[in-house]
Amino acid sequence: MLRRLSYGQSYILLGIILAAALVASAGIGAFTFSPERMFRYLGEGLGWIPSVAADDLGRNVFLKLRLPRVLVAGLTGAVLGVSGTLMQGLFRNPIVEPGLVGTSAGAAFGAAIIFVFGESTALSFATPLGSLAVPVAAFVVSFAATMIVYRLSTSFGKVNVFTLLLAGIAINAVCAAGTGFLSYVARDPQARNITFWNLGTFTTADWRGVELIGLFFLICFVWSLRYGKSLNALMLGESEAASLGVNPERLILQLIIVNTIMVAVATAMVGVIAFVGLVIPHVMRMLKSADYNFLLPASALFGAITMEVIDIAARVIIPPAELPIGIITAVIGAPVFLWILLRQTRSGSVGFYG
């Protein structure tokens, strides 16, 4: 469908779909809002039109709960889409996503450390960082985890898929053990937090989350757009990329940093959401092109669309309760992951790439 459109036209189409998904996601749920009502609240919230006092409850639910939640979901989807694209480019393989290579699990572990020990004296250094302590800790551990997996799975500038999977399993296990230990020693409310958040949730989304994820996403997204050409060149392998004028060492470091910043901030806010980063770039590749200059913006848009749809599903499947996001994404994403892996094995092409 997208094949016949230019890159620009594809973005416009995805943008229109995203706008529709945002309106739908904002309107559907325990409280249902008509688009007309939503725009009125929006106008009232911005002070453009005088508020109707009788409708305080609806307005508060919409402006303080629903709207930030919808925006956090969209931004998180965009982060995961871009991150999946960057990681697949870095590892030169479509089975890679932040959940596989330790980025998410590392971020979860780092954040859990602050959740549990953040208040205690031993880690009082965290206090001056204030509300940024959680994302910063998430970044540090996440960066280390991703770097270790990359180094382990690469030999002579080429990525070995089996080593990649095994290294990912090992690092994820270490991080999960760490997080598990922390939730075991934590006092009850903290432990509950960690459990919830290991499955991903948007229920706690607020405007501060919108600001934080939005700011870091914007910076990292604009930054990552510079790497379209380099990511394409890297498909050929590190030494071929080098002969095209790319410095692979520097590129790899920068990719892991920009990716980890986004994922760490998003994970610190909403928890671990697996498989979205895997599926998004894959679908965009099938529909249009494997060119990273296209995939980066397209995956941001399509990631946001997908996350809105999943969030609507999370709200309406078992009302009045909500399903954790991570459960839905795993149910949809794991079969896709296996399908891609199987297809690679059948075509005999699992092994070394680029």
């Binding site: 394409n232 004028g245 092409s349 070394f352």
Partner: protein, 261 residues
């Protein structure tokens, strides 16, 4: 002219290249010969500027390789190695366009696009320009990679400047048709102010296509010959540990090599 001057390369105690000095003949097909482990690949890597030697220098013309910025170096020389597999369904045209990456910033110019089409034409892959790279056969994939390096050091239009094409066993695992095609296209570049420097795994093919030969043994250049006939048979026998003989093809009087154990 590409000059390697007193280059040594060591990893720990192991000496891989030992004080090598070679001057690759400009606009000729230079072949580096030698058995496995003689240091051919290391020498080629250092000559491309991708590997820093422990000591010594590499110059293109009178400019040191280290003085080029990465994109400037990529516009000066290209490297074609063994066939690359891609895990992604990138279009053939997009792969060839990579050769133009060092030449443009954000978006390719119309000239970049034109060079891509003409490169595809030169390797005879125009019909497959819109196809996905992983669906091509191994030989066709290598033709696309060849088009990519042609686009990278495009020198068919005036004004020309000296360019260098490095071949690192690019014909490995190709059928004979594709091997001959690739080497023919590479030889064609010699008329356009381009110097070819190659390692070829098929020694018979190497002797047939080369102009200048550098025979390597244990990290040194043991012999330099400006004609396949000028390579001493005994030396080839010793270096490669085979029995060699030179026969004359009755059809065209060309010298051919035969090897046996």
């Amino acid at each position: 002219m590409a000059d390697v001057d007193r280059v040594s390369y060591r990893v720990g105690e192991t000496v891989i290249l030992d004080d090598v000095t070679v001057s690759f003949a400009p606009n000729r097909f230079n072949v580096i010969l030698g058995p496995n482990g003689a240091g051919k690949s290391t020498l080629l890597k250092i000559a491309t500027g991708l590997l820093e030697p422990t000591s010594g220098t590499v110059c293109y013309g009178d400019r040191r390789v280290g003085d080029y910025s990465a994109p400037a170096l990529a516009r000066k020389r290209a490297v074609l190695s063994q066939r690359v597999e891609l895990a992604f369904p990138l279009d053939v045209e997009d792969v060839v366009l990579m050769g133009r990456y060092p030449h443009y910033g954000r978006t390719p110019s119309r000239r970049d696009r034109e060079i891509v089409s003409r490169s595809l034409e030169l390797v005879g892959m125009t019909a497959k320009r819109g196809q996905q790279y992983p669906t091509l056969s191994g030989g066709e994939q290598q033709k696309v990679q060849l088009a990519r390096v042609l686009a990278q050091i495009w020198n068919y239009d005036e004004p020309r400047e000296p360019k260098y094409l490095f071949l690192d066993e690019p014909t490995t695992s190709l059928d004979v048709h594709y091997q001959l095609h690739l080497l023919d296209v590479a030889r064609g570049l010699l008329d356009y102010d381009c110097t070819v420097i190659a390692i070829l795994h098929d020694i018979t093919m190497a002797l047939q296509y080369g102009d200048v030969f550098f025979l390597m043994e244990n990290g040194r250049v043991a012999h330099e010959a400006h004609d396949a006939a000028g390579i001493p048979v005994e030396l080839v026998e010793r270096v490669f540990q085979v029995r060699a003989s030179r026969v004359t093809d009755p059809a065209d009087g060309q010298g051919l090599w035969r090897f046996s154990l």
